[in-house]
């Protein structure tokens, strides 16, 4: 197991300078406001907004003025109730959807449209069933125009990284759910993106497989040093994986609060400290979940 040196054991008891009402908990969580400041950011979101036009007259504000900075090599988790625009945010960052306002910057360069510097792992994966595992992993590099020999080498490296080397000639339908997740991870990593975006990747997996993939993702993250933005509705998963957790409001999608997770790695889903921290975020999240439920019962939930 690789240990990650960035977090220190122990509890930080800083109060949020803005929302001072938060009582300090002995849980390893530090509420933070991160608007700008300290150091260079790998990924910067500036005042990102997205409005959907639904049925002509009514408009839906899906994202509302999102400001966010992600440091190089940081593991950021975004949690929020379903339908809060988390997935939409990832699509916008990936350039698959145009924001109504605001900008996405990678290394201070303005992004316009999709690019292999930001790879999104979709919730439904979107692996290509007409290609073998290794051809799937190779795909992004092929599109980038990387030479064949180098591609083969990297395919081998990344398949080994996700422990799928002996399945390189299989087709997607022959693999289990967890293995498909790992193919998707390898395919995304193989393009060597600056930022890896993950949209509830483990939501459909059974608990054992998910635990295993948490460990693997943490290891791969430590090994490759990628910047990761990970969206989930599972608070405990967010605390288990993230350096930082951003809580989304229900609608319009805004960042309600951020927490720095100051717990030592490797962590486990069952760790008492993880549970405690999750509990704290969950209290804040509950309010948003209630809002989403109210909207659902009122029949207002629009298709995502």
């Amino acid at each position: 197991m690789t240990t990650n040196p960035i977090s220190q054991p122990g509890f930080s008891e800083h109060r949020s300078p803005v929302r001072g009402s938060v009582t300090p908990h002995k849980s390893g969580l530090v509420p933070v406001r991160s608007n700008g400041n300290n150091g260079t950011a790998k990924l910067t979101l500036k005042n990102l907004s997205l409005t959907y036009k639904s049925n002509g007259s009514s408009r839906l504000l899906a994202l509302d003025g999102i400001d966010l900075k992600v440091k190089p090599g940081e593991f950021l988790c975004i949690v929020g109730p379903s339908g809060c625009g988390k997935s939409t945010l990832l699509h916008v960052i990936a350039g698959l959807q145009q924001p109504t306002a605001g900008h996405v910057l990678v290394d201070d360069n303005l992004m316009d449209g999709p690019g292999t510097d930001r790879i999104l792992i979709f919730q439904e994966l979107g692996l290509f069933p007409w290609l073998t595992v290794s051809e799937n992993v190779e795909f992004g590099m092929k599109m980038k125009g990387i030479a064949r020999a180098e591609r083969q080498e990297k395919v081998q490296y990344y398949l080994r990284l996700v422990h799928l080397a002996q399945f390189k000639d299989s087709y997607i339908h022959q693999l289990s759910g967890g293995m498909r997740q790992r193919v998707a991870l390898a395919r995304a990593l193989a393009t060597e993106p600056d930022v890896l975006l993950m949209d509830e990747p483990f939501a459909a997996l059974d608990a054992q497989t998910r635990d295993l993939l948490h460990d693997e993702l943490e290891r791969i993250w430590a090994e490759t040093g990628r910047t990761i933005v990970f969206v989930t509705h599972n608070v405990r998963e967010a605390v288990r994986l993230g350096d930082r957790v951003a809580l989304f409001t229900f609608r319009p999608g805004r960042i309600k609060r951020e927490y720095k997770v100051d717990l030592p790695r490797p962590r486990h889903l069952e760790d008492v400290t993880v549970a405690k921290s999750a509990r704290e975020i969950l209290d804040d999240l509950r309010e948003e979940i209630n809002k989403s439920l109210e909207a659902e019962y009122a029949g207002e939930v629009l298709k995502r």
Binding site: A94, L96, P114, G115, T116, I119, L120, F122, E124, L125, G126, L127, F128, P129, W130, L131, F139, G140, K142, M143, K144, Y171, I172, H173, Q174, R187, T191
Partner: protein, 253 residues
């Protein structure tokens, strides 16, 4: 093996009845030939190369016409599928045009191109173009959107996106349309060749009629069936099976 036996019994009985009817001379031989006569005609046709030449000419026309209509149909189908206005207007027109037997295009083709290869190609293309176009259009719509998004996400654009992602992703949805297009093209070709005479299997069929050689007529008919069956059974079914294996779809029986 049991299935093979059933087939063998069926065809033996069928040919037996045929031979019996021919033997009883219910109808004169120039109206109702015997199985032996047909077999002899087949052998003679292959021996003097006239069948080989006819097959060669017909297949060349088929391949040319069919490839043309596949390329055109894909472009058209994608165009129609990607534009709401076209989808509403052209889509409807295409479906209604499909009820027109493609041989109806022959008079028009002859007036436009004269009695040339172009005229017959035109009929073949019109025979299969609509099937391919409609298949491509519906395939493009049925195909899960995620593949296109994943392709763009991984850096595929424009033609490469079409070639490496959209086309293979829609293949399971368009393969039956491609097959149907081939069958239509084959029919159009034979009927075209029958009316507009210059080599090919259709012409051979008409020559049999002109010579009152019923054995040859039946022999050529068997040839036409056999070629249609071989292409359908070998080429298209192999492609379908391989697709199903790759995608993990249940094999259709």
């Amino acid at each position: 093996m049991k299935k093979f036996m059933r087939h063998a019994i069926f065809y033996t009985v069928l040919i037996g009845i045929w031979a019996l009817l021919a033997k009883l001379k219910v109808w004169p031989p120039y109206v109702f030939p015997s199985p032996q006569g047909v077999v002899e005609s087949l052998a003679a046709g292959f021996a003097d190369h006239s069948f080989w030449i006819a097959i060669g000419v017909s297949m060349k026309r088929m391949l040319l016409g069919y490839s043309l209509s596949v390329v055109l149909g894909m472009v058209l189908g994608l165009g129609v599928a990607s534009n709401k206005f076209l989808e509403e207007t052209m889509g409807g027109l295409l479906v209604s045009l499909q009820s027109l037997p493609s041989i109806c295009w022959l008079p028009l083709a002859v007036l436009w191109f004269g009695l040339t290869e172009k005229a017959i190609l035109f009929v073949v293309v019109m025979g299969s173009l609509l099937s391919v176009t409609i298949a491509m259009e519906t395939g493009r719509q049925q195909m899960p959107k995620i593949y296109g998004m994943a392709g763009r996400n991984l850096g595929a654009r424009g033609f490469r996106l079409f070639w490496h992602v959209l086309l293979p992703a829609s293949l399971p949805y368009i393969i039956s349309g491609l097959k149907q297009g081939w069958a239509f093209a084959w029919r159009s070709l034979i009927s075209g060749e029958m009316i507009f005479v210059s080599l090919g299997l259709g012409q051979l069929l008409m020559m049999g009629r002109d010579l009152n050689d019923m054995s040859q007529v039946i022999a050529v008919m068997i040839l036409i069936i056999a070629i249609g069956y071989i292409v359908d059974g070998l080429v298209f079914r192999t492609i379908e099976r391989r697709l199903q294996q790759k995608w993990g779809l249940a094999p259709a029986t």
